[in-house]
């Protein structure tokens, strides 16, 4: 291998931005990722993501298998001290040794001593995130050993001196041309190094010589059975088999969280790992080995022994503290499949060099960095927008958005914004616990207050906010991106519109309120930004003869929650529950228009309210408008009879529809598609995980460009749909998705409620 490679090319992210202990490092890494790595990351993560949907779709008992895996991991972490003892006896009985390392220094010192004890000159390594965590290679190299990474992705980043950009595919940020250039810089050869085939062949031949001559093989472990000392190792290249079979000495390094009670427990995990990770039913090789193996050792290395040895190094490095922390304990359940990375719109655009720390990346990565390197290094967790698309993908059911919300809350509390608070304490409604959060977070977290003032002062507020001095001021003071097109506050709120026209809606007079079949809840987005959506809903219900009562509007707490202001969010949730108490007590069905609010009610309130009965009502009695009309009220046929054909108002017979991320996670998007089809439209749906705007995320100065780049996929999909099918009506269900689509495409974006309302009134 060629000698050291200087990192003078600006094309790749230097390791100095790997550690995200400052927002400056995060900002720099974001910029470099967007400039240089975006295309490769996007292509590779999307391939994993598509594969996962296909592969998990073929598991007949996918949901119960996930429950089983979750139960195994919960049980294992609960019994960890006992399992450590069991595992130690199992491995020792098999003829191996076990070392429990306190921290990175302890682990690397021990492994280094083991290696020098064998007079090792050449060490071959399989991919191991744990070895990345402890920076093992540099320690062994400074002890004079040659250390060769044998997973091809790891080999690439070893040559380039980069940190992994993905926990399963460490080099997904590089395309073939870049890999080819890297190899040509490093190796003098007559062989052609252009195609993937050629590069692989070259690496195979080079590494084969290393495998058979190596003194020691170092691997990680996907899981370890305490009762037998059996390691689960999954891979596709065969390098793990080589590392564990070819050299006479095998050292496995794993975090203590990888231990499960029994060999039988390995099976649900291995059945989930391949489908969730790379989208394969099983990866090419799923190894169950109980070392030391019985295979005859090779005689090629410089010091061939007669027998094989095995050493298991278990790493603590903060994990016992994570176990004692009710939130970080969740991260210990992670089986590192990377489904949360691949299904994350921000990760698909940025990759793990920006959306990651020194070792771990993606949504789950922030908790891991916080647990192993300290909370201050987890700043990249800001990139979790809470879109929730990872939640149904996690094979051990970790609520990753909630984990990141809690980490954000902890960072807010360690902040020092108190000194500014006199300025806005009177204006904003942060809970006392949240007043140390940065001003930007408190500004966005109190969106309801902002919207109330914005709407009261509209249209002046909208015009004012569009002027460049005000934009500059807003960017400077609250970090609002000056290029962002701001939401337009309604001149008249939904509540005012409704009040003015309530006589038109016979279902909503006070006399019939007690007989009303359904409650329409105007969320703050409908109330202050899109009153027309609320009026359309009311018009539809009225036409269909459904007696409706309109509740007061309350802030739901989503805005505060997404800033990590958990106490403020909880205050809002309690106020809202009080405000809707009479309807909840009567077990009324409640229609909620904004999907992010519906998902607050159905899932996030579980973290914010303590009343089980109330939570059940919020879960079971709240509906997306079309979920209510089609599923609960069963009105598909009636709607079809009562609506005009789209052609009568010269609409094209096609719709491009983008459902909201949280709407999809709550399984509430399908009825809208069904409805649009029943109206006679051909419906083309977007397949992006999230539009990128994600509430306030895309309005922030730091993330405006990220959000725009994330949104590119959505804009391209609309373009493709139209070039294939012809002009489409553009529809979306979420407030920020609508803003994003408008900003990216300049098109008129309708809410499906407005479409149905128009067709009902046209007939």
């Amino acid at each position: 291998m060629a000698e050291d490679h200087s990192m003078d090319t600006p094309e790749y992210i230097p390791r100095k931005y790997a550690r995200k202990d400052s927002y400056e490092a995060l900002g720099n890494a974001i910029k470099l990722s967007l400039d240089y790595e975006q295309d490769a990351v996007r292509r590779n993560t999307n391939a994993f993501n598509t594969g996962r949907y296909q592969a998990t779709g073929k598991i007949p008992d996918y949901e119960s298998l996930k429950d089983r895996a979750r139960a195994i991991k919960e049980d294992a972490i609960r019994r960890l001290p006992e399992l450590l003892d069991t595992l130690r006896s199992s491995v020792e009985q098999n003829g191996g040794t076990v070392y429990l390392a306190r921290d990175a220094e302890d682990a690397t010192r021990h492994i280094s001593e083991l290696c020098t004890g064998y007079n090792a000159e050449l060490v071959v390594k399989a991919k191991s995130m744990t070895s990345e965590e402890i920076h093992l290679n540099s320690v062994l190299e400074s002890a004079g050993m040659e250390v060769v990474e044998t997973d091809l992705g790891e080999m690439i980043i070893q040559l380039a001196d980069e940190q992994p950009s993905h926990i399963v595919g460490p080099a997904i940020h590089r395309n073939r041309e870049q890999i080819s250039t890297l190899f040509k810089e490093h190796f003098e050869t007559n062989q052609s190094l252009d195609s993937g085939e050629e590069l692989t062949k070259f690496a195979r031949d080079l590494l084969r010589k290393k495998f058979i001559r190596a003194d020691i093989g170092i691997s990680g472990a996907n899981a370890i059975a305490a009762d037998s000392g059996t390691l689960l190792l999954v891979e596709s290249e065969g390098n793990i088999r080589m590392v564990s079979q070819a050299p006479p000495v095998h050292i496995a390094i794993a975090g203590i969280e990888k231990i499960v009670p029994s060999k039988a427990d390995l099976f649900p995990l291995l059945e989930l790992l391949g489908p969730s990770g790379t989208g394969q039913p099983l990866t090419s090789y799923t190894n169950l080995i109980t070392p030391p193996l019985n295979l005859r050792p090779f005689s090629f290395n410089h010091n061939p022994p007669d027998t094989r040895s095995f050493h298991l190094v278990l790493l603590e490095n903060g994990r016992m503290d994570m176990r004692d922390d009710p939130m970080l304990r969740e991260a210990l359940y992670c089986i590192r499949c990377a489904a949360c990375l691949n299904s994350c719109a921000n990760f698909q655009t940025l990759g793990g060099h920006a959306y990651g720390g020194e070792t771990y990346s993606g949504g789950i990565g922030a908790a891991w960095e916080a647990g192993t390197h300290g909370l201050e290094t987890a700043k990249f967790g800001e990139l979790c927008t809470g879109c929730s698309r990872c939640v149904p993908q996690c094979p051990v059911r970790i609520d990753i958005p909630w984990l990141n919300t809690v980490l954000r809350d902890r960072m807010n509390r360690s902040g020092d914004s108190e000194k500014f608070s006199f300025v806005y304490r009177g204006l904003l409604q942060s809970a006392p616990e949240d007043t140390t959060a940065p001003f930007q977070k408190q500004f966005f977290g109190n969106f309801a207050t902002l919207a109330r003032w914005g709407s009261r002062l509209a249209p002046l507020s909208n015009r004012l906010a569009a002027t460049s001095p005000v934009k500059a001021l807003l960017e400077k003071t609250v970090g609002l991106a000056r290029d962002a097109e701001l939401p337009q506050f309604a001149t008249r709120t939904f509540a005012q519109e409704y009040k003015a026209s309530r006589h038109d809606f016979n279902g909503s007079t006070p006399e019939v309120q007690k007989d009303a079949e359904v409650v329409l809840f105007p969320d703050i987005y409908v109330n202050y930004l899109h009153p027309s959506w609320g009026m359309a809903a009311l018009g539809i219900l009225n036409r269909l003869g459904i007696q409706t009562v309109v509740s007061d509007s309350f802030a739901d707490g989503r805005a505060a929650l997404s800033q990590g202001m958990v106490t403020t969010a909880s205050d809002r949730a309690h106020e809202l529950a009080d405000g809707l108490k009479r309807y909840l007590d009567e077990e009324r069905d409640i229609i909620v228009i904004e999907p992010s609010v519906l998902s607050m009610f159905r899932s996030d309130y579980g973290h914010l309210l303590n009343d089980e009965h109330l939570l059940t009502l919020f879960r079971e009695r709240t509906f997306d408008p079309f979920e209510y009309l089609l599923n609960a009220a069963n009105l598909t046929g009636r709607i079809q009879e009562m609506t005009a054909d789209p052609g009568t108002i010269s609409w094209p017979p096609r719709i491009f529809y983008h459902s909201h991320c949280q709407q999809r996670t709550s399984d509430a998007a399908e009825p809208t598609v069904k409805l649009l089809k029943s109206l006679g439209f051909e419906v083309k749906t977007s397949s992006v995980e999230c539009c990128g705007m994600a509430g306030s995320f895309g309005y922030k100065r730091e993330y405006y460009e990220v959000a725009r780049q994330v949104g590119k996929d959505l804009a391209v999909q609309l373009e493709d749909a139209e070039s294939e099918f012809g002009e489409c009506l553009v529809a979306a269900s979420g407030t920020s998705c609508t803003d994003q689509l408008k900003a990216l495409t300049g098109r008129t974006v309708m809410h499906p409620l407005e479409i149905l309302d128009s067709l009902l009134y046209t007939k």
């Binding site: 490769a40 590779n44 391939a47 007949p60 008992d61 119960s64 044998t150 997973d151 091809l152 992705g153 595919g169 080099a171 590089r174 395309n175 073939r176 041309e177 890999i179 195609s195 993937g196 085939e197 590069l199 692989t200 690496a203 195979r204 590494l207 084969r208 058979i212 037998s228 059996t230 596709s236 290249e237 065969g238 390098n239 088999r241 080589m242 079979q245 060999k263 039988a264 099976f267 649900p268 291995l270 059945e271 790379t278 394969q280 039913p281 099983l282 990866t283 090419s284 090789y285 799923t286 190894n287 169950l288 080995i289 109980t290 193996l293 019985n294 295979l295 090779f298 005689s299 090629f300």
Partner: protein, 181 residues
Amino acid sequence: MRIMTSRSELIEQFLREAERSGASVTAVIRDSEKVYDTIKTLIPDGTTGILAAPDHLDPALFDPLRQISGIRENPDDNTLESAWYGITDAFAGIARTGSVCVAVTDGLGGSASLFSERHIVLVDSTDIVYRPADLLQSDEITSGGYLNNMVMITGPSATADMGELVKGVHGPGELYIILLE
């Protein structure tokens, strides 16, 4: 969850999934001469290969293979590492994933299924289970200790790390499954 499927459906699914994973599957009657005839077509003249004594199947099935020139049953390290093909048995097949399960014991199965460029593996259709977890239900498999050291092989070794999907990395680039019926 146990999925009740008839044996013929299991075999159908195994064939389908194994082909999907990139393996080539040939169904052969459980007879040593027939096995020989099939394997002979998979071995180009002049190549060297490893014949790993079976861990699970009847060794008599392998007997006629011994006469193939170039086949080695007790190779030295150089031959083991550089042999072009390797013949092993599998103690089970997995229908849902199209995998074959090879024991990694003191025999040559572990090496012959790894170092060669073409891996030829024999699996009996009566040893096919529905999913990986079903391996735990077989007394023969659990009491035989197969699950201590084994590999579930699903298609040839492969990588996407070099910017495109490539078959054949450190392990074999070709997997031929002989399904005994």
